[in-house]
């Protein structure tokens, strides 16, 4: 089946700077795709080219089979967009705003059902500008969904939210999966990408530096685990058996080993410690988190 979004060699140049320096993307139907990167990495530039708001300097782009630079009304009927910054319609309630927007589409979703989908039933008759930040964002999502689009762009949907508002927003976005929508999400929060996405691409300095599922991103499944523990007084890292000493990565009161095969090394460590009657109460084995991977991948741009 044809991909929903297909990007080849996309470039966008502002003056002397390549904001987007040749990226490739492919997003399948029904996928929740996260475009992860620090501020200024080129996320919004890319998504606005895909939405048809910006022109590109080079490369090929199709969204739902159409070049967004020439997207017509029929194409816009199939695409919904939650913009990074857009306020509520002034002077209209939540329900009225949705009535206004539903009139723009040929086959809109049911208004009350859409209000319920984003959890604004209690606020349906509240004026949009009087909503809290989190509620306003949910109204944005409802307005993007009212036309029953196949593809939804969400540009940093939770920036500036408190933790509970973020949880609520995540529930709403996760609910789009059940509707079979394809979702293109940009975010600079690793936990958000990890929580929501089927697939993640990390962008830094206008280039894609890694792509994968939340579990495999940046070779995360291959990256070494770290084993940490504190030895009792009188015992040093030099006393460890040679196969563990070979894995030594640091000793500053606490010993750190890195290991591609943590089970083998933890086993050897346990055998050695038990034989000597040493307990290791703070023993800790850790895989790199997505955050570690992300910081590693985007470090050169800091």
């Amino acid at each position: 089946m044809e991909p929903v979004v297909s990007v080849r060699g996309l470039r966008k140049r502002y003056g002397q700077v390549d904001a987007v320096a040749g990226i490739d993307l492919e997003i399948e139907r029904g996928e929740i795709f996260a475009f992860l990167g620090p501020n200024g990495a080129g996320k919004t530039t890319t998504v606005e080219i895909l939405e048809g708001f910006r022109t590109r300097t080079g490369g090929e782009v199709t969204v739902l089979g159409i070049d967004p630079a020439h997207g017509d009304a029929a194409w816009r009927n199939r695409v919904g967009a939650v913009l990074q910054e857009s306020n509520a319609e002034p002077g209209l309630t939540v329900r009225e705003s949705l009535q206004l927007y539903s009139g723009y589409y040929l086959e809109p979703r049911d208004i009350d059902e859409t209000i319920a989908l984003v959890g604004l039933e209690e606020k349906a008759d509240t004026l949009g500008p009087q909503l809290s930040g989190g509620q306003r964002r949910r109204l944005d999502v409802a307005l993007a969904l009212i036309g029953d689009p196949e593809l939804v762009f969400l540009d940093e949907p939770t920036t500036g939210f408190d933790p509970s508002a973020r949880r609520n927003a995540w529930d709403v976005i996760d609910g789009l999966r059940g509707l079979g929508k394809t979702v293109f999400l940009t975010t600079h929060y690793m936990d958000e990408a990890e929580q929501l996405a089927d697939r993640i691409a990390v962008i830094a300095g206008g280039r894609i530096v890694a792509e994968g599922t939340p579990g495999t991103l940046g070779g995360r499944n291959l990256m070494a685990a770290t084993i940490r523990f504190t030895l009792p007084a009188g015992t040093g890292a030099d006393d460890l058996p040679p196969e563990l000493r070979a894995q030594l990565a640091g000793e500053d009161g606490r010993v750190t080993l890195t290991s591609q095969t943590p089970l083998v090394h933890v086993g050897a460590l346990a055998e050695w410690a038990l034989a000597r009657g040493i307990d290791l109460p703070d023993l800790d084995v850790r895989r790199p988190t997505l955050e570690d991977v992300y910081l590693e991948l985007t470090r050169s741009d800091a």
Partner: protein, 264 residues
């Protein structure tokens, strides 16, 4: 039931105008400046000048000021309010979000212009009623078509100018002062506040370049008791419409739906 979009662009224009009007009526500041302030001006000018004979035709001030303030009311609804509202909607990303929908740009513009036209007509009718019942000022029945046509052409032209003028405004805070900086002097030299015969001729010549003078001139003509025919001054109407056409062309070339502040 078919949606407005399914019934065609004109249905969407009406749909848009209906919601724009609702939003306008809920905005206290817009209501005051557009609907109440012209009434206050009329009451104040009539209270001060009352039965003085003013203008080239030596009309009583109360007869003179109903059309003059009507011109102000049309401009308040179609230009002042519209420029401010467009700038706010643009800077808050609301116009951009509307452009992400399938609605053609001209439909959104036509819907908002229709709202301005409706408010202009309502505002002029209220001024007429106040003039009629508080001050006994009557408009000759045969010039009512001329009055109505002048208001309609004026409102549409000033709406087009509003879209053009908004392109020069950088942010929401600048909208109100910029609009007043342009309109207040024009009100003074264009027969809205002060009869043109009281101005030095060079100032009258300056005023005649701009559309405010021609809108107020057209409305004064429609109100004057001596006017015969349907009350249209084609030259005035032509100048107003020409300004509107220039505004429209400029807006088509320069108008942006995206916030200026964030277009990095």
């Amino acid at each position: 039931m078919k949606t407005p979009a399914a019934r065609g662009p004109l249905a969407v224009v009406l749909h848009q105008a209906r919601f724009e009007l609702r939003s306008f009526l809920r905005n206290r500041q817009a209501r005051f400046f557009t609907l109440v302030l012209p009434l206050l001006f009329l009451v104040i000018f009539v209270a001060v000048f009352g039965n003085d004979k003013v203008g080239a035709l030596h009309l009583p001030a109360k007869v003179y000021y109903v059309p003059g303030i009507s011109a102000l009311a049309v401009i308040a609804a179609s230009f002042v309010n519209l420029v401010i509202s467009i700038t706010v909607l643009r800077e808050e990303g609301i116009l951009k979000r509307r452009r992400a929908t399938p609605v053609p740009a001209w439909v959104l513009i036509a819907g908002r212009t229709l709202t301005a036209l409706g408010v202009s007509l309502a505002s002029v009718v209220v001024l007429l009623l106040l003039g009629r019942f508080a001050y006994g000022v009557r408009i000759p029945a045969h010039t009512i078509p001329g009055l109505a046509i002048t208001v309609v052409v004026g409102s549409i032209s000033f709406s087009a100018l509003a879209y053009a003028f908004s392109t020069a405004i950088e942010n929401e805070d600048a909208a109100q002062p910029m609009v007043q900086a342009v309109m207040l002097p024009l009100y003074f030299i264009s027969g809205v506040f002060i009869p043109a015969v009281n101005l030095p001729s060079w100032l009258s010549h300056v005023a005649q370049v701009f559309p405010v003078e021609h809108l107020s001139g057209g409305l004064h003509h429609a109100f004057a008791p001596a006017t015969t025919g349907i009350g249209i001054v084609w030259s005035d109407l032509g100048v107003v419409a020409l300004w509107g056409a220039i505004g429209l062309a400029f807006a088509l070339a320069r108008f942006s739906w995206l916030p200026k502040a964030a277009s990095a």
